[in-house]
Each structure stands twice: as structure tokens, then as C-alpha cells.
Symmetry: C2
Subunit: 467 residues, 2 copies
């Protein structure tokens, strides 16, 4: 169990007023170069202290030979030097009352040589006794978007949108992937944290910390395997009702299970046992990186449906049918509308259209008020808990999104409105982004992914209902 000081130090770690980069460099082939670039180009407002015994300045900022040589206080030390120097640096961090450490350095528990695990254990004892939380070792670092802090070796994390999803990941590659995918899909993060070999900050500590983080609404986990999953499972159980937890656990295959052991120094363990424990604890379990992102996005932007009854409203029949198939596959239902709703839809659409659920609104393209009203009456229908809305651009319907904007803003997802609004690049991007920023809809690249995301929202509702 970590004490109070430890968690106070985690606050300093994630919201530092000053950051020392130990191993800062002007040379591209040093990770300390990229860390400096991340900090300086990421908009960080605090004090940056490059530490390098053989440089006077790094990227135009005065450098120090050691942290002791700097007279001010240091909240966060990012360490990117070879493993053999780390022990001494930890002692210096303690003397200097550093709040927390991001330990990018690799070569500990993940290496074949048992020396690595031994050294990690010694480091852990040091850090614990000093009360210093350590992100890593063997990590790309972390980003706190709400503090403009990119404490990683990849400056381009800062291109990702600020939001309320916290990603805690056991893999740097997966964090990079999710960040780049999210840049393309308008998904925003509060924090992205690569916990690496988890010296003394594991999933458990991160979940506890994020529970009180005002900027985090949703927690997304990428898990390979940990030695003692029970604290994590308990932490999920304790908090999943206040903040939903989405978990992507890999290691289902023979080959990946072995690989995972090498990667993080932990057996992935019996995959099915993990999945069962995560589900029981109240996590929403997903199967791909894209599903992790899509589900976190839905939980971030959308309200949670009261039930599983969905209206599929489509500007074109085909995508509506594809969404309906997937909706039923993930446990949603497409019930008939109430008589009143159906009557009104029949008035608004000609007989040639599919007017039951799913609804083909195609014939109402040229009539924005009809489309608006169909969505409106479906949203009001007491048989309906959520709407999947699908609009494919087709030149003639270029005003379609504009035409329903105000109405969607009014609804503001009082019931979830999950969409696939698709067009060539540059055509509806602004409108869709605006509506997403205002949480008036949650958009996906395909009808099937929209339906699956709503299915996972319903999954969360079932978790909440089971008490």
C-alpha cells in the first residue's frame, strides 16, 4: 500500500512546475533529444531543466551538470540515461526532494539477464523508501494534456486532442498507435501513460490516482500481463461506477503469451481468467485497439442508454442494414416504434421508403425539416433508448448535416446519438467535429463500428444495473 505522500507526489509528477531532463541532449540519436523536443514544442509552461554534464545549453535552455547543481526545486525528473547511472540519480532525486520520476531507461526486468530483475528490485526499494512514484522503467513516458506536459520521447503525442479519456498502457507501441488513430478520429485524452515495467506505479496505482483526477472521465487500459492482478481488479471494482473502465487484454495466443513475458517481465497468464476477472470487476472488455478507442470515445462523448432498444435512422438503406445486423449481434434490439411515431414517420416519408425500424430516410434528403422531424420523433419515442444515425455524403445531400445541426445540439445526447456520417476528406469534417466537441453526437468511420460502440455503451449500462 502506498502512503499519502506517495499519492501527493503523483500529483507533482503529473502536474509539475519544474521538470528536469536527465540525459537531455542536442543530438538526434539520444532519447534525451526527443524528450526535450516534446517538452519544448508541447507547450509546457513550467521550468525546464536540462541535465547533461557536458553541455552548457540544450535547445537554447541553460543546462546543468546534475540536478544538485540546480538551485530551485524539481517536481518531475525524466531520466533517459543508461541503466547503470540510474541508482545514483535516484539518490540525488531523493536528496533534491523530487516529486516523481519518469524512467525511460530500459534494461531492467525485461532483459534475459537476471541482473535486470535484480536491479529493478533494488530501484523499487529505493523509490518506495523515498516515497517517489516512478513511471517506468522501459517506457516512452507520459503525457498530461491538461498540463501541456509531454513527458515522452515522442513530440507528436501533443498533436492528439485534449479530452477526458485516460489511457494507461503496458505498451509504448500501442500507446503510439492509439494516439495516431485518435488524431484521425477526433478522440481526446486527459493523459496517456506508459507504465512500462511498473517499478512502483502499476495499473492499481494509476486507477486510484485517476479516480480523483478531475480531467478524467473514462479509463482505457491496455494490459499484457501483471504478476499480481488482484489490486488492479479491486481498484476497477471500486471505481467503475463513477468512471467507466475499458480494457483491452492481449495474450490470448500461445505465441503472444510467451512474447509478453519477455516484453514486460510478466506472464500474460491465463487469458480467460483475466477476461473473466475484468468482466466481473465491471470493466468493459474489448478485442482490438480500434474497439478500445471507439468504446472510450463513446463513453467520453455520449450519455449511457437506459436500455438496449435502438432506432437505426439512415440516409441510405444499405448502411442502415449493416448497422442493424451489427446492432443485433452485439445485443441491441430494433423494436417497432410506437404507433404515434410510426404514423408521423409514415407522413414524412413516401411509401417507397423503408419506414419501420431501420428507417431509410433517403427520400427526405431534399427536405431537411422531414429528416429533422424523423430524428426528433424517434428520439422522443418511449420504445427507443438510443439512435444510430447514418448519413453518407452524396453531393445532392451536402446540406444534410447542416440541416440537423441545431436539433442535435438541442438533444445533446439526452439519449445517445451514435453516428456514421461519412464524406470525402474536407467536406463534413468541420460540422462533425463541431457536433462532437459539443457532445451532440459520437461519430464512427463505419456503420458497424457505430453499432458496436453503442453495444459497448449498453454493456456498461448492464454493468451498472447489476449493482
Amino acid at each position: 500500500m502506498k502512503n499519502k505522500k506517495f499519492f501527493e507526489n503523483m500529483k507533482r509528477l503529473f502536474n509539475p512546475e519544474s521538470v528536469a531532463v536527465i540525459g537531455a541532449s542536442n543530438k538526434f540519436d539520444k532519447l534525451g533529444f526527443h524528450v526535450m523536443k516534446s517538452l519544448t514544442t508541447g507547450g509546457y509552461k513550467g521550468k525546464i531543466i536540462p541535465v547533461n554534464p557536458s553541455a552548457k545549453e540544450i535547445m537554447g535552455i541553460k543546462a546543468y551538470p546534475s540536478i544538485s547543481a540546480y538551485s530551485g526545486s524539481i517536481d518531475l525528473a525524466i531520466i533517459a540515461v543508461p541503466a547503470r547511472f540510474v541508482f545514483q540519480i535516484f539518490d540525488e532525486c531523493h536528496e533534491k526532494d523530487v516529486g516523481g520520476v519518469v524512467l525511460i531507461t530500459a534494461g531492467f526486468r525485461e532483459i534475459e539477464d537476471p541482473e535486470g530483475a535484480k536491479n529493478q528490485e533494488i530501484l523499487k526499494q529505493k523509490a518506495d523508501s523515498y516515497g517517489i512514484p516512478v513511471i517506468g522503467p522501459n517506457t516512452f513516458g507520459m503525457i498530461n494534456f491538461w498540463h501541456n506536459l509531454n513527458a515522452s520521447f515522442t513530440p507528436e503525442f501533443s498533436l492528439t486532442k485534449k479530452g477526458d479519456i485516460a489511457l494507461v498502457s503496458q505498451s509504448g507501441g500501442m500507446s503510439h498507435l492509439l494516439s495516431f488513430l485518435s488524431q484521425r478520429h477526433n478522440v481526446g485524452y486527459s493523459k496517456i501513460v506508459g507504465i512500462g515495467n511498473r517499478l512502483n506505479v502499476d495499473f492499481y496505482e494509476m486507477i486510484l490516482f485517476l479516480k480523483d483526477d478531475p480531467h478524467t472521465k473514462v479509463i482505457a487500459l491496455y494490459i499484457e500481463g501483471i504478476d499480481n492482478p488482484m489490486p488492479m481488479i479491486r481498484a476497477i471494482k471500486d471505481m467503475h461506477k463513477s468512471k467507466p473502465v475499458v480494457a483491452y487484454k492481449t495474450g490470448s495466443s500461445k505465441s503472444s503469451n510467451l512474447a509478453s513475458k519477455s516484453h514486460t517481465g510478466s506472464m500474460a497468464g491465463r487469458y480467460e481468467i483475466y477476461i473473466g476477472a475484468l468482466r466481473q470487476a465491471g470493466a468493459i472488455v474489448v478485442n482490438t485497439a480500434e474497439e478500445l478507442m471507439d468504446t472510450a470515445k463513446a463513453l467520453s462523448q455520449s450519455s449511457i442508454p437506459d436500455g438496449n432498444r435502438v432506432a437505426v435512422l439512415s440516409g441510405q438503406a444499405g448502411p442502415g442494414i449493416a448497422a442493424s445486423d451489427m446492432a443485433e449481434r452485439v445485443g441491441l434490439e430494433l423494436p417497432p416504434f410506437t404507433e404515434k411515431t410510426q404514423k408521423r414517420i409514415n407522413e414524412l416519408l413516401p411509401p417507397m421508403a423503408i419506414r419501420t425500424n431501420p428507417v431509410d430516410m433517403g427520400p427526405a434528403w431534399y427536405d431537411a425539416s422531414a429528416t429533422r422531424e424523423i430524428i426528433d420523433v424517434a428520439m422522443r419515442d418511449e420504445n427507443i433508448d438510443a439512435v444510430i444515425l447514418l448519413i453518407m455524403y452524396a453531393s445532392a445531400n451536402i446540406k444534410a448535416v447542416e440541416g440537423i445541426k441545431e436539433m442535435l445540439l438541442e438533444w445533446k445526447q439526452r439519449k445517445p446519438i451514435i453516428t456514421c456520417i461519412s464524406a470525402p476528406a474536407g467536406i463534413w469534417d468541420k460540422e462533425v467535429s463541431f457536433l462532437e466537441e459539443n457532445k451532440a453526437l459520437t461519430n464512427y468511420p463505419s456503420p458497424e463500428r457505430a453499432a458496436q460502440a453503442l453495444g459497448n455503451l449498453w454493456e456498461y449500462k448492464k454493468i451498472l444495473l447489476r449493482g
Copy 2:
């Protein structure tokens, strides 16, 4: 059975020297406006003949009151006028010896009023007796990218890349979606054809026609439901060995099955029976629009693996593990390398890395020659039929793609190289596009989609093997 003249006319339909647009218009709210825009902005090189009884010119091109008023010959007539005018226009097309028709007009078999089905049957008899193939009715049209012919009401189809996949779709919305997704994922098409209500050009006729199309290597089908699927099934069976067929069949759910009937005038039918028949005929069956695109892309760009033994080579461990999980899930295996290969990889990577299959090449980031050689020895390994290569950008590895370019070009997918090379927009786009144009790799947005696409290539190999 269609006669020879019919199929010759299909060639005229898809490769016209002259196109009449019946219902051409200068008014945005007419589909004939958008069709004219598609033709004129799509780079069509032939003669365009706008037909409109009350206009002298449309978009600066001389208009005619009827096709008879035009003295030259007409290969293709695109019809976008109300249904009631279509009978007479068909007669005029016959008199004028028009080669083929794209009938955008809706209001036939898909409407509730039995008059619609009756009218479609009369039209069909006319078209058949005239030997005129008709795409539609109730279609957005079609695009022949190799003829710069955008005969649809959506000009933006022309933004899609020219390639060798022919998409034949029963849904306009699905065609638009796939086109827009493909624009983002560098997937190229020979033709996109919306067969709509299939007057006399159904899946069967399209497959026969595409069999001899020199620009088409892969056939992608989006199927809702047809009255008599047997000719299509037989056509797939006859040709799937020369040109692979990927099929996405919707209508698995109760609600979508009903909707499909309204949409296309055909019951989707027992979903499982369709799937079974498609599989037996040799089609690769997929479950989402994205999987349809991903699979067609792999078949278009990649060679087919001899077996199911894959090497997963990853710049970062996590994505490698995720790909390995999915690979095993879709029937691929990750065997051990031969001793020789393993020995060489052990020399190229430090002990801290995962060096068995999957391989974590992370530590070789700064050493382009090591990465190159790992890929090279894996490709040469007799235990390996295909490679999944995963590289997530991370600033320090910005030269990673450049470093393996020449080697990938030399391999040219003699064994399939399926990749997820991921970076923020603008960073590796050019390199990856270049390598894709040269069929040196096939790239996907996530490790799981890369593995799934390779799984479907293996699926095709199994189909070929079963004879």
C-alpha cells in the same frame, strides 16, 4: 441467358465514346445536375450530350430536347427523370441504338405500390428485347475509373484512386461509404457499380463481364438479397480461381432482413444459406464494410501466401502481441524460425528483445541495417509463408521506413508483407503510398486489421487448394 450483343453492349456501356444525360440540369436540386458535374469534373474524354427539353445549354455544353434530336451516335444514356417518362425514353434509346443505360430513376420494384414491380417488369422486357443492358433502376450509377467515366450522381467518387478492385454493390450508401473509406486508405478501384434494382444486369451479369475486364483483378460484392442467387453462385464458382471474389452479405438480423426486402425488392433470404453457398462457390466471406475493403486491398496488392505460417516482426512489442493474437484467431500460425534464421536474429538483436516469433525489433531502431536484415532472413526462412511488419512512429525512428524501402521493393511481396505502419498525418504517408503503389507492402491502420487481412489471403489460398 444474355446473348453476345448484350455483352458487347455492356462494353459500350462501360467504355462509351458518347454519353447522353437525360434529365441534365443546371439546377442543384435535380440529380441531373450532379450527374453532369460528375461527368464534366471527372475527366471524361468523350462526348457529353445533355438532354433537357427546356434548356439550350447545361454547364456550358449544348443541350438537346431529346436524344433523337442529337445527330451522332450514343453509347451510354444516363437517365435521371421521373419514372413515368422512362418507357418512352427506352424506346427512343432503342431507335437510337444506344449501347447501354444507367437508370438512376427510382420508383420501381422497391416501392410498396405493386405498380412499381409491374412497371419494372415491362421495362425489363423492353430492355431485354432491345438487347440493352441497364444498370439500375434506383441506383447512384457507376464509375469506370479506367475510362475516367463517372456516370453517377456523386462527383466525389472520382477522388477515389484508380486500381484493380471492382466493387459491385446492391447499395448506393455502401458504395459511397467504401469509396470514402478507400480514399483514406489508399485503396484503388477499376469500377464501382451500383446495380440497384437490377433490371437486367444483376451480380451474375456483372461477374461474367468483369471476368474479361483487363483492369479488374479482384471482385468485391456487397449483397443484400436477390431472388435467384444460383446464377451468381455459379458465376463465382466459375471464376474465383482466376479472380478472387470477396463478399459482404448483410441481412443476418431480423430487422435488416425485412428492411432489405423493401430496399431492393428481394428478401435477403436465409442468411446462413447464402453464406454457405458463397463459401462453397469459393467466395471469401467477410463481416463488415471495413473488412470488405481490407480484404480486397490485400488481394489487389499482395501475393497469396503458400501456407499459414507467419512471422510477426514488430518495431514495438505491444502491437506485435496484438497482431499475434489476431493472427492465431484467424487461423494463422507463428512457428519457430529455422535454427539458421534464429541464430542470425539473435546476433542482430540484444538479449533484452523478444527474438523468437513474434520479434520485437525495437532495439534495432537506430540500426537500419539490422532491421533490414531481420526482415530479410525472416522472408527467406523456409518455415515462413508471410510477414506481418509493424512499425509505430516514435520520432527517434523517423528514418525507419526509409531504411527498409529498397529491401521491400526488392522483395515485392514474393511472400506477402502485410503491415501496420502508423504515424501522425503527413509523416510517413508518402513513403507508405509509394511502397503500396509498387506493391511492396499492403498497409493497414491497426495490427489486428493487418493480421485479419492476411488471414483472408490465407482463406483464399485454402479455397484455391481445395480444387
